[in-house]
Symmetry: C2
Subunit: 263 residues, 2 copies
């Protein structure tokens, strides 16, 4: 991370070379010497294309900066293996969509001699298609003081809008932001193909919002709805309000059409 | 309506000078001599500003073209008064957000010597802020053959995208398009102020969609949800799918955070 820091980390180890790990490599390639670990055999081509050396989890964990972009299911196992292999002074960063649980896992399992910063880039391959400049990333200090360095890098080197926060504050807001978006998308997708002909501007916006999340892996939805300690409350609130609105609507008497409801 | 038609209608009577009646006057002023009727006393200034002469419902109903932009509650009464006052050969057009019920009312109550075209401009003052060019309007022939003339005018004179359809097809699609948009907006508005800080692109789109409909009059929501014969089915489907998703989510076991869920 070539900025104000006497130590000059030059090697980056990406743990989990899926959709987001690859997106990270694409944007960090000119700042780091990148190695990556992924259990899948299907990432060899894309790794080569991105100039990334695939290696074992152990050797990837010896990099100066370790980026954990591992899937839901293996997060805890991955962290424990990194804990055994990482070097003193290493900087360990995760990019999960929830922060309370992973921050707790990293703080508990990783050694005291490493710095830990929990982050959540508020974008994915879909929303990063036009580049990542100006997109948002949440940054939570977990251990050590290099969160300031990480924030400066994300801001200056990548042009991201950095939101410094805590895992708790992040998850509370994400429970609404991501929880509701994915919940509504899920319900609408189950309703089948949506109309495209007689659509209003507001419906077009709704459809676009859905199309951005509908291709996320099932684990994404699971993570957002289940691994966020605040998601269930928000979800129940949404379902309860929907249910009471449903009752109201069946109760009230039918009225005639109105003249101003185009948008 | 100054286009291919041996008869040259030059007077337009707008019945109901609310938000949409005023929007219509703003865009039709250079094509017609406009008079308008509204029971409210508060429209005098805007009428003067738009060069529209306010008059009685009876005299407004004697125009060559009568545009019904009356609120839900008074639609049927208004049509019966127009039926008594309108001239033979008049063209009567409504702009309600549902079409089956108003088309039936107009066909039943208006005389045979007038042409009737039911329309639904798929926009309102909000979405028309940047002008109406390219916006959509649904057009349903009801009585007579001047729907083609109306469609041509909307396309050529106003630059609108015209969708020729039937009241039934319109209401079926609108039940999803407007029914769902307003339903979701209603539920989210009841959840209180939405986050604006740690937002994703898809959530921003969702918020924008909501903001476009949240200022609609309560009658608009009522009309869309209650006066559309297909709305209840769509609504029940949405609520049922939401409920079953809710059950599934409480049932499944908690998982760990995932790495790619930013958008």
């Amino acid at each position: 991370m070539n900025n104000n820091n006497n130590r000059e980390p030059s090697s980056l180890g990406i743990v989990g070379f899926g959709a987001f790990g690859q997106l990270a490599a694409r944007h960090l390639g000119k700042h780091f010497e990148i190695t990556a670990y992924d259990p899948s055999q299907n990432v060899a081509n894309v790794a080569q294309h991105l100039g990334v050396t695939l290696s074992s989890l152990h050797s990837v964990s010896q990099a100066d900066v370790i980026l954990i972009a591992a899937p839901v299911s293996s997060f805890e196992n991955v962290v424990s293996e990194i804990a055994d292999a990482c070097n003193p002074g290493a900087l360990i960063v995760d990019v999960g969509s929830v922060k309370v649980v992973p921050a707790e896992i990293m703080r508990r399992m990783l050694p005291n001699h490493v710095d830990i910063v929990a982050t959540h880039p508020l974008f994915g391959p879909q929303s990063a298609r036009q580049g990542i400049e100006g997109l948002k990333v949440a940054v939570c200090p977990v251990q050590g003081n290099r969160h300031a360095q990480v924030a400066a890098f994300l801001r200056k080197a990548l042009g991201l809008t950095v939101i410094m926060t805590t895992p708790e504050d992040h998850d509370q807001e994400a429970a609404v932001v991501q929880g509701l978006t994915h919940l509504i998308a899920k319900v609408l997708l189950r309703m089948g193909p949506l109309p495209t002909r007689m659509t209003t501007k507001s419906f077009d916006l709704l459809s676009e919002a859905i199309s951005m999340v509908q291709h996320d892996a099932p684990e994404v939805f699971e993570a957002i709805e289940k691994a966020n300690p605040y998601a269930e409350t928000v979800r129940r609130r949404f379902f309860d309000l929907a249910a009471s609105l449903s009752v109201e609507l069946e109760a009230t008497s039918t009225t005639q059409p109105h003249n101003e409801s185009g948008h």
